[in-house]
Amino acid sequence: MAIGVTQQRLDAVAKVTGRARYTDDLGMPGMRHAAYVRSPRAHALVRSIDTAEALALPGVEAVFTAADVPRRRFATAGHPYSLDPAGADVADRRLLTDHARYHGDEVAIVVARDLLTARKAARLVRVEYEELPVLADAEAALAEGAPLIHAWRGPSNLIGEHAFEAGGSMAEALERADVTVEAFLTTSVQQHCHMEPFTAYAYMEDDAHIVIVSSTQIPHICRRIAAQALGLDWACIRVIKPYVGGGFGAKQDVVLEPMVAFLTWKLGGAPVSLELSREECMACTRTRHGFRMHGKAAARKDGTLTGVSLDVLSNTGGYASHGHSIAAAGGGKLAALYPRAVFSYHARTAYTNYPVAGALRGYGAPQVAHAVECLVEDAARALGMDSVEFRLRNVARPGEVNPYTKKVLDTAGIVECLEKGRDMFRWSERRAACLRTGDLRRGVGVACFSYGSSTYPASVEHAGARMILNQDGSVTMMAGATEIGQGADTAFAQMAAETLGLDFSCFRVVSTQDTDVTPFDTGAYASRQCYVASNAIRRCAEQLRGRILAAAGRMLGQPAESLALRGREVVRAAEREAASPRALLSLRDLALESYYNKEEGGQITAEVAHKTRANAPCFGCTFTEIEVDVPLCRMRVVDLLNVHDSGRIISPGMAVGQVQGGVAMGIGWALYEELLVDDRSGRILNNNLLDYKVPTPPDVPDIGAAFVETHEPSGGYGNKALGEPPIVSPAPALRNALLDATGVAVDELPLSPKTLYRHFAAAGLL
């Protein structure tokens, strides 16, 4: 049994010894370094650029401006190619611009012999700007007559808009209800803060091919987009992904790769590196969209939730990046949670002069779940019903139909998650014990979520796997899916070990993806990899097992069907499960024979490309207890437990790690993380890790993680998604706990002292 047990991560030793090599640890002789010239204004036209002084600095090799780069516009979102042009991402970027659309937009780039010189020269590039009106607010950006941020796209700053009503009519749901609650909610702009900054370098090996080494989540998509940006055949680009120091969605965008490819191309194939500073990463790459939402929830006295409606306005900043997909996906992922209630969803996404928003762990779902779970809480309270009980009556059950996708929920463990959480957390006992008066108050909160396990049917879901029996009997596996820190390689090896029947220690997974070598997969996003790759790996392992046993049968003169693999040996199938079966042939001897017999056999390999045409919802919930210091307007997380239905758990230890990390990020988003932008100038005020508060060790309590294991038939091993889901429900649970403690419904994030002060003052608490 290799599934369901915690194996040591394949990369653990490499990482604790410092031997794991990330992009900046590789380097090349003669590497040039590039630095952007960034606009100090959030909205302005470039009137003139004087590069003479920069070019005169010793060590500077070149300066490029918008006049030097291809005219074509490209889209940066790390989505699979869409055969339907209507599904294509918004192509609104050029490599450099003469129209700055956010504070830090890229107007020129300098290449020098070292990074210090490049950055110094960047400051010597003289740019004259003509200021344009700054649009910070998405509502203002959509107002009649607002200045256009991308005038060529049409007469509005709207990028996308859609609406659906699932499970009936909201008007009827409101009519049938005994109580209706309403709320206006806002969420803040979060930054990924992956510890490894954005970095990439490129070089040429001949006259036509460009090699890019990059810290990316999506090497195969990156290849296509870099080629599109430069107008090259896609195979002219080769992308290599070494170890990646975290991405959380930021690196599901093609941020640096087209530029380094352009620079090496212009510099005769010389290696050129572009590594962003932390300050650039914070403000000039991608962020989580701030949402403004208006919602209603309707319920009957008997505890039936009849409907939830939500109107969303998403602020994507100066460029589309993932565009309207975030607001669209956020609504879609939540539709499975309360399938017997109407879910009415309308969303718009607008350009503004904010920093550019893209994918960030949860992909719109944290914002939408926040609104839904605040409204559901308010409805439970309006009915005078226990918050857990109300949810238990309304959440999804197996066999029901998701009203949005019309697909049957084969697995839905949310009832069990809530029940398990209620018991483990001692919900009723703790709720009764909370002191809700005085300066120091306590409260408990709960929130649920549903999420997806892939992006189907919005995008294709393709995974590739290749396995090779080595000369010594070990197995090398290559997956197109990428390890970015989440433990994908280890989970994949566990899956292969399970199907092949071999020891986990037989497997080596090639962690580096190389688009010239590795099978095709679209990459690490949407919590899709374990789910989508599992079917490819299972089929590939079955193929390899069949070929190994066929070779064994030939060597042993026995029918292949009578043989099986166990540990590192070929055994009789009938003895496969026995305590100590007799070894008929070692895998090592089998491999040597197969490789080197002069008359027959050969290298034993298997390769599978698999398309998944399913997207099983996963579920979960958060239980939390908080303490509020009312005069200081500060809240502290006393305890927090997440319970997940992610199908069968491949590695319990790594799963707990995903939950604790996601929850910590969720606590940060809920309580204090906020990229601050001055609304008049569009200037970013806290583009560093001192002024932008990331949770530190003392900020995070011990986080509880528990699982309800369902067996999802569409997952290769009964598994569903887990990577992003832990971040979805902590924020509303914390808001609901604050409401429980103080009676104040604070419907804006973050729940920081500056926010609580306004709400507590308005409520008469101060």
Binding site: Q8, T17, R19, H194, M195, G661, L689, T696, V700
Partner: protein, 158 residues
């Protein structure tokens, strides 16, 4: 301007000609010790933590010339003489405290100093958290890291 620096790095004496502007981080990485990472370059994240005379410092803020006459320890030097992992490295592996691994070398060095300073003493999980407050990790939520340090302190030294 350049200057000669003589220091020990992971027990080996090195004499290097360095640019006086270079940080200790830059000096170490130029020597091929790329295990130490740069996460911010301005002392905010702790990814570049190394030990100077057994004290954790952000090597991005510590000038290479200041290392003259001192003993520097990096993650590469923590292996035992037989090539096995140090108790802290092993505890990180066992506790599942490693995800993307970019903060790991710096955290290993902070934990190493913490464990050496607190050997034989009673420490709470809160003490461990405060003792690692200078190191950011975005993947783990710190729980497994605190577990790893706790295990080290509970295990009697060999």
């Amino acid at each position: 301007m350049r200057q000669t620096v003589t220091c020990t790095v992971n027990g080996k004496t090195l004499t290097l000609d360095v640019d006086v502007r270079a940080s200790l981080l830059e000096m170490l990485r130029a020597e091929g010790l790329t295990g130490t990472k740069q996460g911010c370059g301005v002392g905010e994240c702790g990814a570049c933590t190394v030990l100077v005379d057994d004290m954790p410092v952000d090597s991005c803020l510590y000038l290479s010339v200041w290392a003259d006459g001192r003993a520097v320890r990096t993650v590469e030097g923590e292996l035992r003489p037989d090539g096995g992992l140090s108790p802290v490295q092993q505890a990180y592996v066992d506790a599942g405290a490693v995800q993307c691994g970019f903060c790991t070398p710096g955290l290993i060095m902070s934990s190493t100093a913490f464990v050496e300073r607190h050997a034989g003493k009673r420490v709470s999980r809160e003490d461990i958290r405060r003792g690692h407050a200078g190191n950011l990790c975005r993947c783990t939520g710190y729980g497994a890291i605190v577990d790893a340090v706790e295990r080290c302190l509970k295990t009697k030294p060999e």
